[in-house]
């Protein structure tokens, strides 16, 4: 009897923890702006795909080039104006003062206290993944075009590198702030990663079907 009660208690505790984990996981992995996430990746990836498959798709160099240019410019506009703002809360632009001097402004959205407006982890991961890998792929294409002497593609590839590199640089400046914040940001990030590893899945059982395991082992009499 006493054993039953205690096993019920342990079951209740484990279920409660599983509930908490599920809600935490859903908040982190929920994608709040599916359309923006889709378009963030769609334009970049399709520009790369068209560049790779252009010889197979159509024999006209000009159609390929115009398509890639259109996709690259749509991607630049979408990432700079829409997806950065929605997915990670960062934006950057150029401002010209009244006396004619121009300067670049980089802004990051403040994290509000109740956390309802914070961006989800999944969106942030999608955003940065797309933002970082595509310019690197275009740089690889640039070197391959240069060394295989396919010079006519160099204009398109250079345009790809410049546009996507500009977005990458702008958002990194937004995120980092100024140069001397980089080391403090890196240590903060590493510290947070370490804490997350320690506190999250090590002690709590993540799903409900494994919660019976420890209760069975804790009560060897039953």
């Amino acid at each position: 009897m006493v054993g039953q009660d205690s096993s019920d208690d342990i079951e209740d505790v484990s279920l409660f923890d599983a509930d908490d984990d599920v809600s935490r996981r859903s908040k982190k992995s929920k994608i709040r702006h599916p359309v923006a996430s889709f378009f963030h990746l769609f334009f970049r990836v399709s520009a790369i795909v068209v560049y790779l498959l252009c010889e197979l798709l159509t024999s006209s160099f000009i159609a390929c080039m115009v398509t890639i240019i259109l996709l690259l410019s749509c991607d630049f506009w979408a990432v700079k104006n829409v997806t950065g703002r929605l997915m990670v809360g960062l934006r950057w632009w150029n401002q010209v003062d009244d006396d004619g001097r121009s300067h670049w402004v980089f802004e990051a959205r403040k994290v509000s206290a109740q956390g309802s407006k914070t961006s989800s982890e999944a969106e942030s991961r999608i955003f940065w993944l797309g933002l970082i890998t595509c310019p690197m792929i275009w740089v690889i294409f640039a070197f391959s075009a240069l060394f295989s002497f396919k010079v006519k593609w160099l204009a398109v590839v250079v345009m790809g590198v410049v546009l996507q590199g500009a977005n990458l640089y702008g958002y990194i400046r937004c995120k980092v702030g100024s140069r001397k914040n980089l080391t403090s940001m890196a240590t903060n990030y590493l510290g947070k990663q370490f804490l997350r590893q320690v506190s999250f899945p090590g002690f709590w059982k993540p799903s409900s079907h494994t919660c019976f395991y420890p209760s069975a082992s804790l009560l060897p009499g039953l």
């Binding site: 000009i62 115009v66 010209v96």
Partner: protein, 174 residues
């Protein structure tokens, strides 16, 4: 949308070049991109080796326009101009609009025939649009320079639009 309206307003400012801050203050490079692509599309397929289906010419026009604009901007900045890099690129790109109109007119005239009369018409149109382009861009750009350096800034702009006009005038379709 906001960006499209801004681009349209700049096109209007180029056609009637008064000293306005719209072109200079809120620069954007969408208009130059559209103009460059349409000019390059209209100029392709116009020379002897058609086996490459006009590929190199498209990239050539693109590179000439953008590289030329960058060089002029660097030149004006090295001469001590007060205008920023992207503002200058914006003005130079938008002032290609009259030449794009000239290209359109030339293509229509060439559809009708390619004799001496059509050449004279094309010459007049191209020279007029070239003058308009150069005057529009110098109206925006030359004010940012000290007065004894104005000619040094105007000359590369003149050369840039001259090269583009030459490409337009010597275009003969296959």
């Amino acid at each position: 949308m906001r960006d499209l309206k801004a681009v349209g307003k700049k096109f209007v400012h180029v056609m009637y070049p008064k000293k306005s801050s719209a072109l200079l203050r809120d620069w954007d490079l969408w208009g130059p991109l559209v103009l460059c692509v349409s000019l390059a599309l209209m100029l392709q397929g116009g020379s002897a080796d058609s086996k490459d289906d006009g590929g190199p010419q498209f990239a050539e026009v693109f590179v000439i326009i953008w590289f030329g604009a960058v060089v002029i901007t660097l030149n004006s900045k090295l001469l001590g101009g007060t205008i920023s890099f992207f503002q200058s690129l914006c003005v130079l790109g938008y002032c290609v609009l009259p030449l794009t109109v000239a290209m359109l007119v030339c293509r229509l005239v060439l559809l009708a025939g390619s004799g001496t009369v059509s050449f004279i018409i094309r010459l007049i149109v191209v020279v007029a649009m070239f003058g308009w382009s150069t005057l529009a861009s110098t109206a925006f750009l030359a004010d940012s320079q000290p007065p004894n350096r104005k000619a040094l800034v105007v000359y590369p702009i003149f050369l840039f639009y001259f090269v583009i006009s030459w490409m337009i005038l010597t275009f003969t379709p296959q």
